[in-house]
């Protein structure tokens, strides 16, 4: 029911070691709101072959499926590492399934070698429904003129390619925008709740690309589900990280001559958090198994995982701040880093209410 191969175990071990070594919290703090990504870290990830895990072998990758990335992303989430890793991997996944032969052979080997990719999907109303968009692409001759605005385009300033969703002749299509096709001034940095994220607003007005840059396929659902799987991995890791922060403080801080962890009002919610982490991790690897198997129930499993983890991680972050008392109210306390990460993950690609609503017909209206 949950499968985990030896290959994945090895990857998990490597990733856990790597992220532990790169993840001291001081380093994370130094990277907040940074002007550039950590190039050294990126190079190392690329050298480890992590950018090609899900890329077909003919393009220089390992040819595994997207679920094999889960242990890597979970480890990154554990230490709050920020990088364009997830977006690049997901762009590769999208190109492999929706791109033309020439798009695949042009871009996939580059991504394996460290070229950065990202998505421009969300728009100003913040809707989680990915085909609910206003951006438009108008064809004239062989040129596509883009208009509209995209939000939450992570690492857009350093990305070599951006996959954006636009309506062409009324249908939602995916287009591949290269960095040199974005006029200066069309990108502006967004202030976002998770400061390990480098997020941009992308003004599409005035961008012109070749009609050949439209992707053959436009499987938004696959993008949504794969993105959610990665967010679940990040949340599972983040829950572990924030619980470590809680446990450490509860075992050292005293109030009224007692270690605060001895008070049941703090101990019991901490027990709830560890069980919610166990649940999140279980849903995560179950969903990963179904994705890997191409099982029809993968969507249900991913939405369940996203709903459960979103609520659990946000609760843990919230309690982490509260349990630190006055210190928790300061920027210096690490609890806020996890709370911010939790809120980002919760509100990207749908929170628990959104997914529970979508799960209702999937779980309740089928024949029993």
């Amino acid at each position: 029911m949950i499968k985990f191969t030896d290959e994945q175990s090895m990857l998990l071990e490597t990733a856990a070691d790597f992220c532990r070594n790169h993840g001291p919290i001081e380093k994370v703090r130094a990277s907040l709101d940074a002007d550039d990504i950590d190039r050294g870290l990126w190079q190392e990830m690329s050298d480890l072959g992590w950018l090609g895990i899900n890329v077909p072998e003919e393009y220089g990758g390992l040819g595994l499926d997207i679920s094999s990335i889960v242990p890597v992303v979970e480890s990154m989430g554990r230490y709050l590492l920020g990088s364009p890793y997830v977006s690049s991997v997901l762009v590769a996944e999208c190109l492999a399934s929706c791109g033309s032969d020439s798009q695949r052979s042009e871009w996939l080997p580059k991504i394996v070698a460290g070229t950065i990719g990202t998505f421009a999907l969300t728009e100003e109303d913040g809707s989680w429904v990915l085909d609910d968009i206003e951006a438009v692409g108008t064809v004239s001759d062989q040129t596509l003129h883009l208009t509209g605005t995209k939000m939450f385009v992570t690492d857009a300033d350093v990305a070599d390619l951006i996959i954006a969703s636009v309506k062409i002749d009324g249908a939602v299509r995916l287009v591949l925008i290269e960095r040199n096709q974005i006029p200066p001034g069309n990108l502006s940095r967004e202030v976002v709740i998770d400061q390990t994220r480098r997020s941009f607003r992308l003004n599409l007005d005035g961008i012109e690309i070749s009609a050949s840059q439209v992707l053959a396929g436009s499987d938004l659902k696959a993008i949504e589900l794969n993105s959610m799987l990665m967010l679940c991995a990040e949340m599972s890791g983040g829950l572990t990280g924030v619980l470590q922060v809680i446990v450490e403080y509860l075992n050292t801080r005293k109030a009224f001559n007692r270690l605060i962890g001895s008070y049941q009002s703090l101990k019991h919610p901490s027990a709830d958090i560890v069980l919610s982490l166990e649940a999140a991790k279980s849903h995560l690897y179950y969903a990963a198994t179904l994705v890997s198997d191409g099982d029809d129930n993968a969507e249900t499993a991913i939405r369940m995982a996203k709903a459960q983890a979103s609520e659990a991680f946000a609760f843990a972050g919230d309690r982490a701040v509260q349990f630190h008392g006055g210190f928790g109210f300061t920027f210096e306390c690490d609890a806020q880093l996890f709370l911010r990460r939790a809120l980002w993950c919760q509100y990207q690609h749908g929170d628990e209410n959104y997914h529970c609503r979508l799960l209702e017909p999937l779980l309740l209206d089928q024949a029993v």
């Binding site: 949950i2 008070y263 019991h268 069980l275 166990e278 649940a279 279980s282 179950y286 529970c356 309740l364």
Partner: protein, 398 residues
């Protein structure tokens, strides 16, 4: 065994339970071993367990020389799963099958194994548990019931409470105090495999909040039991009790298998939502009901998946004991909330109780009240959270 053999075995067991499931006895059966309150219920359930054992689907992995099947554990696991799926009555000798039996197999003397194991499986000897006391609540270490050595006997005085099946049991796993000295309260405790049919042992049924019976308070008044009923040495009682609790909580394998309750599942409640009405329409069309059902389905899935993932060492979390230490807490709390939610769907009829007019004869109301036995018994949920905080997360004691 090959995958094919396992599949065949599963089919064989499923067919057996389908063909041999007992007929409706014509009276409301209890839903767990803690709720057996009348002689007709008890006799019906004892005969059923006997039949399952004779068919070879109980104690399959226990050693053959003591009456078990001597077969791989996986077969018993499959048989137990099929038993649950078939919705047949539970195995009533749960304390023997799942707590006392595995304890005796693990720590008992050869003669104990020969003497007790087979009759546990066949339901010939019913076992009960004497751990809790009226004044000790969840604090087992505080047991006051006395056992004083007198020649070849121990003399018992005091009382134990929440003895399920107390009036039917032939033996009791008993935690009693052999000494009031020692460095701490645990040091004076000893563990006995005690007979119930001796003068001075008197199990008195307790009426539950449902109005039914099922538990006893067992009184000891100068009751004399043979000294060789002592398990291990004097003073080892606390440690042996802790081993028993690992079996009780399902933290360790080794149980005889079989179901010990007619577990309420979230699917039962979904099914109820399809057939009861709210505002003139099936409750399952009500937005609030739908949301709650989805939440319960996710939670129930969480519990199932945790059990599955915990068997994969590479996927252990940084607190690897959390899953096994929390089984009772998670299952019992889900069951209590699920039962209460089921009631909420009945509209004004939620205010009925066990009677012909009540939906399903009042099984939902009775089920909700009985759900507290598992959230309280075996260490309350609040104690369970202390245990998880302290033993899993390493937080300080209070």
């Amino acid at each position: 065994m090959t995958e094919k053999e396992l599949v065949e075995f599963r089919a064989e067991v499923a067919a057996w339970f389908r063909d041999n499931a007992p007929d409706d006895p014509g009276f409301l059966l209890p839903e767990t071993f803690m709720e057996v309150g009348t002689d007709e219920q008890f006799e019906f359930l004892r005969d059923w367990q006997h039949k399952v054992y004779e068919a070879g689907y109980l104690g399959m992995a226990w050693p053959k020389e003591y009456g078990g099947g001597g077969r791989p554990q996986i077969l018993q696991d499959i048989a137990t799963q099929e038993m649950a799926k078939a919705r047949v009555p539970f195995m009533t000798n749960t304390i023997g099958l799942n707590w006392a039996g595995p304890l005796i197999l693990k720590m008992g003397r050869e003669e104990d194994k020969k003497r007790y194991i087979k009759n546990i499986l066949s339901a010939e000897d019913i076992w009960c548990q004497g751990f809790s006391e009226p004044d000790a609540g969840s604090d087992l270490g505080n047991s006051q019931c006395r056992a004083v050595r007198d020649g070849d006997e121990y003399v018992l005085n005091g009382s134990k409470i929440w003895t399920s099946l107390g009036t039917y049991a032939r033996h009791m796993i008993l935690l009693a105090r052999t000494s009031t000295e020692g460095s701490n309260k645990y040091a004076g405790l000893s563990y006995f495999l005690a007979p119930m049919n001796v003068p001075g042992i008197d199990p008195k049924p307790i009426q539950k909040l449902t109005g039914e019976y099922g538990f006893c308070q067992t009184y000891f008044d100068n009751a004399r039991i043979p000294a060789d009923c002592l398990m291990g040495q004097e003073g080892e009682g606390w440690n042996i009790a802790m081993v028993t609790l690992t079996f009780e909580r399902g933290a360790t394998g080794g149980q005889a298998g079989g179901i010990s309750s007619m577990e309420l599942t979230v699917n039962d409640v979904v099914e109820l939502a399809r057939r009861v009405k709210r505002n003139g329409k099936p409750a399952i069309e009500d937005p609030d009901v739908r949301r709650q059902l989805v939440n319960f389905l996710i939670e129930s899935k969480s519990n199932r998946l945790m059990g599955v993932r915990s068997t994969i060492p590479a996927l252990a979390s940084e607190w690897p004991t959390a899953v096994m230490m929390s089984g009772k807490l998670r299952a019992s709390e889900l069951n209590r909330r699920l039962s209460r939610f089921a009631l909420s769907m009945l509209g004004a009829n939620a205010a009925r109780f066990v009677s012909d007019e009540a939906t399903d004869g009042g099984k939902w109301q009775r089920g909700y009240f009985n759900a507290f036995s598992a959230t309280i018994g075996g260490g309350t949920s609040q104690i369970q959270k202390n245990i998880i905080g302290e033993r899993v997360l390493g937080l300080p004691k209070d």
